[in-house]
Symmetry: D3
């Protein structure tokens, strides 16, 4: 049995990352994962939030938003509702938390990097794709800081990528699109590092609970997907890739 | 090495559930998990939200809040800030989603049950304790509906409980209190059913990523904790416990 | 003719005050007045609001909230509405104003004490019960400050209690429960000191205006109720009671 | 000793009411009480709020607002703050409640009358002056309804006026201006009917509690002030005055 | 053919400006343009907004609001909606921008002048009338500053007035009232200086686009109207009028 | 003297319009005007806002937003501020009003078309570019309706485009970029139709008022720019272009 889009169960959608798409942002990436298309910009601010003042360390945070017509039917803008939905808050907290797990905040110094993930078109996996794309935008922005300020060490300590996995019609699938996601009995998002460790693991069986055996299958297929994504990130980052986790003085390339 | 509160690594805190603590609510529970104390009330409303109208099925949802002085230092009320924090939204979405996983919404009929989880005192694990307590309040409220309306089948399909596990100072611990939680390198919340399946699995390694082996240890210790909690829930529920997942006509007891 | 709950016209409901019910708050009280149950916590903050800065005096303020299912039918949370109702604002302004009338703010020093009154269950008289309970929580918190800082004089200058009175079915009643309150033609809240003076007097005759003679009867029955409440407060406060209005150096007990 | 503005202790400020000052409103009044100047408009809407639908009775409600420069220093607009202050809510609830006490809502039919009290200039007593002025605007609007619809009985059942009294420097004063009000040890607002009964009585002794004897003096001086105001209202209302409480068919004049 | 109110096509409505109508404001004006009636107050604040701090120059800004019953049917207060409408924001941005065009902000020094335009009654042209009236209130307030502080030069550099013009039923009309405005095919607001130059020009042809020839006619009739208004402003301002644009030391009159 | 970007005074920036860039929207356009880049999507909804119900006519409206890093420094999201800025409201009201001027709302039927203009990158002229791009997206969406529903007549009555003009350093320039715009003494936005008539004309001289002669020069250069833009729109629209203003039955192409 073949997936509606002709993919194998353990196959990613066509992935494409274009860098430096915005002339103002310190780092920017346009990432396409099949029909899911997201603009990720990284903004560097030479100060930190109040709760970190005077501690000699930096901060990385994220905001997430969907354009109103990123989806089948138009969504009301959150600016018009006057507040963020719970879904948006949950996603942007996840992105920020995930990125911070691979940043040496002391090496970053008293700076804040804000990742804006704006979904231009959504077809499943917008939160995982935001993490994958933001990581690249973050590396580009951090490299720019390193070039200008020469940091004690390059502050990105490992690679980071994210992908969704799920159980649909009895099959364990990698990188679900919207149609598959809406039929999934189990939906799981994985965030992992280049060294193969877990940063976040969020599995939900609202339609039906899942067994330990299903969990193991999901983790196996997801780990492979993460490795494939990280290989592509390295290619896109080029020379910057060598700085990540290198432990040498952060001068940038 | 012993935990600050004298517990073994795989030991729950002292758990206490008092039922029917509110004279108005259809179901109510006061749950204490060590020094974490939460009031859970279940309100039955004979209508459903707009998106479910006319589909012959019901809805279960939850709201979560901390009293301002539930914590070491006082928190500003969300009513004064004019909006919910991301943390609150994330937690109440989780509670609702988890409870719905063990409710047959068609058998419930066109009714909404709202679980209010108000944290009187917080000492770690407020979201997991909310789920454990809410499940009991929900069963009591559903039994009341069944007594009055005779449902086609008792709508609760399985037990549900939740607990946290974590890695602290190299040890894998069950049911972390606030002090342990704030030192944890990995923090994981489990929601599981009486039949030992996963409903939610949320693991975060912000301080440091975690390996597959650590994940396996966390799951093992957590599964045991869930079983212990469910045994206590059955005791508290008494005759109602027999109706859960029984598949017989829902007349209540 | 006997009141629905068997009380005489001038009889208080069963009153119960439990102190130190919260392990974090500087002062805390759980007060039950019949079926009205309120948690009052006092939080001490070593700074004052902007409008008082540098004046060498302190501040006492209050917040009031009802849990959603404190009442017969569930109320929407004010945090979800995004703002406080007029009723809540009116009540919390009253509580703060009343408490400040018996506090020597100069003796308190540049500190703010916030009284949180969270109604766990409501059966009439929640604002008056909040004042009565908050006063006790305030005394406990102030005593704690005095123990640590030795104040020039103990800052509580007199006792303070509050009770409702009303005209129901032609009878003048003390301490109305919800059922009586909803049938009252006149509803009056009294806040008085240990020396028998008025701090607040709020009478409303929305159903029907009331005469000077009715006013006099209401005041008489209310004054007696206040005296009974203050006697009980003294008992609950124990040795702290002796410090109130003593005029001696505030060292605490 | 003479008051700063040359008045006797029991003397009202110069009062002036101009009717029909707005060409759109069903009733409108510009009331000046010394330097306190308020525009009161009454709007008739041929429907009732949701909670009254289908009960065959009407509703009277009020809104209160101060222009930003009604006071010594400019106040931020509540529209810019995004919400009403507690003070505003408290005042507009009071105005509505007071007016409803002299309206036969069944005779009014399923209509809502909204009284807008906009303070053009404030010099003490804005809430009491709003009630006094709104009552006149309300009578004019109700007369217009009666002219058009012939009501079963004229729905205004009695006169209504309001005034403040206070204790300032040991003297009991009527109708305090801002300067007196800011020095008052006791501040009391009275709302009374033409038949000399109380509708609202709100006394506050934040600066210092007050005795029963002081209360009696305040009531005596206030009752006289109310009588003087109602005499002036009757003059202003002219023929409409005769309809109030007349019990005859409401045809208007 | 004659206009409904008997005016010629190029004739202003009856204009009346009363100065110093508020006892607190540094400048105040009550302006009537036919049945459009607006209270304009100018408040002087001895500080500037954050974005101007330390630049040695001042700021002029405006706020605009309609009383709820300024119009045929009652409008909900923006304070109750919790936010300003787009229309209000657009108008108050226009008023502030227009006034600043004739103020030498450096000569004003580090002060903010806020013009509050509160529409008491609306009959078309409220934004243009607000500008015309605010300019006079601004001059009075600036003169008061000059009297007290002796400014390097009088900071008002030219006269400023505003009027609407439109095409209604094929005729080009000056100063439209509400009835005319609601039938206009083209609606244009002009803001011009005493030297006959344009400050703002806003023409809209929502009902139907307009030609260059129509534009020329509208400008011609509008320029004449502006001249007439400025002549009246000079008369109202009396001796202050001589200071405007005089370039002499600002001592006030 | 040459413009910083090598253009003549009356020359547009490089303009590029890509159609059908979003797989869900009924009409979509990506428009680039130099470095200003905007995504315009048109959403068709088969119902109208409440104020138009039952009138047999449709509605066209617009929303405008800038991504946070569309500009040199990052802007806070309006969704986080909880409300739209005055600038955003002003712009989206303008876009909607302009588009409606060339739509026969009766021919459209009871449908709403919402144009979302999301600025991906801003370099001056975002409001004029939004209008120009939205017009094309609107035509595509209307054609889709016509194809499906066969309208009585094609509802777009004329072409519509917009451009900015300004006076910078004494020169009259067409289509200002951000750098030019920030130095402009006069800034004017024109919206015109294919038949050369004005729909909107908004000129502001905050830095300095402008003369009638300057106005005439601005209009001349702007009219030429509009003609050039419309020529390009026709090319982009291809066969749809022939339907505009054709007056024949709307069947679509």
């Amino acid at each position: 049995m073949v997936r509606s889009n002709g993919r194998n169960n353990d196959q990613l959608r066509t992935m494409n990352i274009t860098t430096n798409v915005n002339k103002y942002a310190e780092g920017s990436v346009y990432i396409e994962m099949g029909d899911t298309k997201i603009l990720c910009t990284a903004t560097v601010d030479e100060k930190v939030p109040p709760f970190l003042k005077g501690q000699g360390k930096g901060w990385v945070t994220a905001e997430y938003s969907m354009l109103p017509r990123a989806t089948h039917s138009r969504n009301q803008r959150e600016a018009n509702r006057g507040k963020l939905t719970g879904r948006t808050m949950e996603i942007q907290r996840l992105i920020g938390r995930a990125l911070r797990s691979v940043v040496n905040l002391h090496a970053l110094g008293e700076r804040t990097i804000t990742l804006d993930c704006d979904v231009i078109q959504a077809d499943g996996g917008t939160r995982t794709t935001s993490i994958t794309g933001s990581f690249v935008a973050l590396c580009i922005a951090v490299n720019k800081i390193a070039q200008q300020h020469k940091l004690p060490v390059f502050p990105i300590t490992d690679y980071l990528a994210s992908v969704s996995v799920g159980v649909v019609g009895g099959r364990t699938l990698l990188d679900l699109n919207y149609e598959e996601d809406s039929k999934a009995k189990v939906d799981m998002n994985l965030v992992m590092t280049g060294s193969g460790q877990f940063v976040e693991l969020q599995g939900t069986g609202e339609e039906s609970p899942f067994s330990r055996q299903e969990l193991d299958s999901l983790l196996q297929i997801g780990e492979q997907g993460i490795r494939d994504i990280i290989t592509y990130q390295q290619e896109v980052l080029g020379p910057i890739a060598l700085l990540i986790g290198s432990g040498t003085v952060g001068k940038g390339v």
